[in-house]
Symmetry: C2
Subunit: 617 residues, 2 copies
Amino acid sequence: MYRGGYAGKILRIDLTDKSVKEEKVTEALARQYLGGAGFAIKYLYDELKPGTSALDPANRLIFAVGPLTATGVACSSRMAVAAKSPLTGAMGMALAGGHFPAELKMAGYDMLIIQGRAEKPTYISIKDGEVKFRSAEKLMGMMTTDTQLFIKEELGDHNFRIACIGPAGERVVPMACIVNERRAAGRKGLGAVMGSKNLKAIAVRGHHRPAIADAEAFRKARQAMNKAMKDSPVLYPAFAKSGTPMVVDATSEMGILSIRNWSATGEIDMVGGLGDAAQAKAIVNRQHCHDCPVGCSQVKLVTSGPYAGYLSEGPEFETTYSLGSQVGVDYLPAVIVGDRLCDEYGIDSISAGVAIGFAMELYEKGIITRKDTDGLELKFGNHQAMIEMLRRIAYREGLGDLLGQGTRKAAAKIGQGSADFAMQIKGLELPAYDVRGAKAHGLNYATSYTGADHNRGYAFQEIFDIPIPEKVDRNAIKGKGRLTKWNQDVRAVTCDCATMCAFLLDMAVPAVACQNTADLVNAATGLDLTDKEVEKIGERLNNVARLFNIGEGFTRKDDSFPKRLMTEAIKAGASKGQLISQADLDAMLDEYYAERGWDRTGTPTPARLKALGIKSR
Amino acid sequence: MYRGGYAGKILRIDLTDKSVKEEKVTEALARQYLGGAGFAIKYLYDELKPGTSALDPANRLIFAVGPLTATGVACSSRMAVAAKSPLTGAMGMALAGGHFPAELKMAGYDMLIIQGRAEKPTYISIKDGEVKFRSAEKLMGMMTTDTQLFIKEELGDHNFRIACIGPAGERVVPMACIVNERRAAGRKGLGAVMGSKNLKAIAVRGHHRPAIADAEAFRKARQAMNKAMKDSPVLYPAFAKSGTPMVVDATSEMGILSIRNWSATGEIDMVGGLGDAAQAKAIVNRQHCHDCPVGCSQVKLVTSGPYAGYLSEGPEFETTYSLGSQVGVDYLPAVIVGDRLCDEYGIDSISAGVAIGFAMELYEKGIITRKDTDGLELKFGNHQAMIEMLRRIAYREGLGDLLGQGTRKAAAKIGQGSADFAMQIKGLELPAYDVRGAKAHGLNYATSYTGADHNRGYAFQEIFDIPIPEKVDRNAIKGKGRLTKWNQDVRAVTCDCATMCAFLLDMAVPAVACQNTADLVNAATGLDLTDKEVEKIGERLNNVARLFNIGEGFTRKDDSFPKRLMTEAIKAGASKGQLISQADLDAMLDEYYAERGWDRTGTPTPARLKALGIKSR
């Protein structure tokens, strides 16, 4: 019964010997891990020996969709892409939407496990269960849009959907991403893992929507969710029109939009150049992921000036920060160019922008000089330099090669105290929210198994003042451990396992996220999960991922912040005076670990593991 | 019977009142004009009142394929695009290959006639005879690759084939082109006509190959042609590998590769940077037009340096000249960038490059200064300046706006003797071959109804030393009138009407081009044309086009050359000392007119028109 909403099959592809094997999604797996990141992380934990290099052929690169993907449920064409991360050394997992996830499911698979390394550049086509290995020699070096076009032409069907790497992934740049259409599994360097396997692309085409176990219950559950979406005061009225950049104005007003490598948060008003009004002016079109009625993806175009003609599906809020405020640029056309180039080169726009901001601060402080930048005037606000550095990161040229390793490694090589300016946690560069003024955001950054990652436990309560599950003071320390566990677990299961869009969770069903997921999943698959069991799946995932990271040597000391956040208070604006001291962090961590049933070193206790049904390795 | 190889239908679209009308391809029309440019030019001559502005809604923009298109005959997915040209004021006709032509035929049409002007930005979709007008508001400003992608996404089928304009066509730049996939109907400003009609794109999708009248005869005719192609010493061994740039080395050796606005032909060796070896190194992939077994289109990619990541389906030989030798640039990556940008902006790479070379010469001579260029150091060889000028042409900025009008108008506005450096005939910029050392090429440039256009009567005899129809001395004057008439008529019918690829004619069937066309067309359509009748169709087309131009005020004085070609001899190399004096030109014109049965003013005599069955307006 449980197989309704699942394609029911896992495809294991070994690139070394070009073997292909189909495995089954068992009911036990589905009950315990649901799908998406749950499946992927469980398999990575079981199959990858601790200490294996992320670039070793043994590393798995896993693409996994959820039980609702391609069933017609709104916002469900999402996938988890996972591997050990070459950027952090921890569990690497990133989500992507678009059309590829639904197409993969319709082609017959819940999960692709890719292992080994192809001898020569290769791409894989999957059409309704038919898998072929194809030469990618003629695609090497191509940017991602061209790559997708040439593959479609070669396959004789432009309706294939393609996930691929660009020049950066080919060069195994540790912050390379994987791009499908104009969406990306952006962070944690998964593109480098794909590149290390000599895999340029995966093309999928399918015609089979999964069966539904209980059509009437499914209809009702969808109806309820669609009503919640319609009733949301934010989803259609604001979010569908502005997309994620709608929070540029809000975070700026709250004094938590990070500026100039986090040195000037609250001090410079960038709303004029980067805010909602400026972004709205640049919008020319809107894109929808498969089965999505919202269409939050705003297409922006530069229509005059030196960058005229550049178009981007974005920039999203995070890129507005990373290639905008973070590098001191408030010229939106340059952010649009940078965003497009990140997609074309196949690099993570957040890590790349933060790495460039880091280098700009070092340059302005004289820690690196014009000699190190090969003549580039790498000052905050120099958008030409930002754009050129993106190219150098992608092609591993000069300082770009170093920055592409991430700020943690770059700082270690540069020395001279530069680590103080490396805005990263566990090797992953910080997202936009200046967490000195949003403590649950901070605790989530510090404890996420992927490093400083807003997507693992976004504290919407602090940004939108929503009292769910309880009223929150963004600058309070107490209660943030409990809140962060809840945010992380609910998000892990609804977004990462069920692969529903995060914006649905935040804006339409925050109070009933697990029940909504249970209703839909049960009706689609024939499972009979309660909302509590659903939440527990999220908790299970966070524990397995933690065990994976412990195996890689991560401990409590890695659940921390860059020095700046703990020693320099925000100097101006609505969050003036805020910081997170070591004592604050310790208090939050203690509460968080206790809530999680982890000991004071951050290790899950045997009791909690047993309660969750996890067998540790 | 004759309808076999035709879709049999003409689609007339009036954008002003959004009306759609189907008309028939009559047997009389097919016998007299065959298809493609024949149909298009006949309709333009009949329907367009002399003196109508090219940008008037009354101008027709016509897309016409041939009777062999989509029948499976090799090299037949070609189309003629025609309108009165905003660049020259004469008949504007350009050819394009790719997949669009075959798809248009399979969607049900031999010809689209587009007239009127849409009130708002519009695109048209045609799917198996179903025509829809759609809003293009959300596509405005997009470059051509993005335009095509967004339309495919909006139509929910990426297998649509799309012809569109870029930012330049939207801005009615007189050298704007029409792009389908990565091919273009490049010259004569047809993209501006499309822009003037507020028409951003045409999307076609079809599933019906045309019927074949006599399958056995068709099989035999195809077999014969395929054998000729296989036996060609050039087509597969060289051309399929190198494409058109294979003549960079050859023309350079002959001293007729034009350099630096034709001021330095033979003086600078650019083969190292732009020649066959350099081009071969950049090739990563190859593209085929629909039904084409050759695949001459070489895809080139920049893999390192400041332009890394840029990819172009080309540059073809002509663009290697216009954005390379003509502007003194022998850095192939810059030519690749320029080529791609011309396709993306939607501007003709030949006219744009020649216009930039013209401006560079004026700048070096001090006729224009840094003030006129808004600070750009517009010297020969400055590839950054060349690339920036392409953008300014597309967006009509400063000097770019002037150059985008073409060198004839630009020179008229600049004055100060600059007209001497405007390398144009009838307002169309000169292609690559320095005709001072290739006189039949020269006479063809001078007399082509579209202006200086290598495609109207390419004298392959002069380049490849092929004695068909007779042995030719490229520097002789005598005999060039007869040869040019033959080249123009054969090419007009086989390439422009039957819409077979020119390279097939030049490299596989030059001696039997008309017989080959007759055999294929008769078998496909049920017509019973002899080779002489086929040739006569070509002659008929050239006469009707001449009548059209006479109606627009063109006379013998317009069958001429820029002053430089008649007064400055080539200074070095294998064609040193060569020029075409006024006396040479007069002698060639007299012979040519006599061969054509035109009087000494270049006007077709009533007797010749009667013999060709042409009723003048």
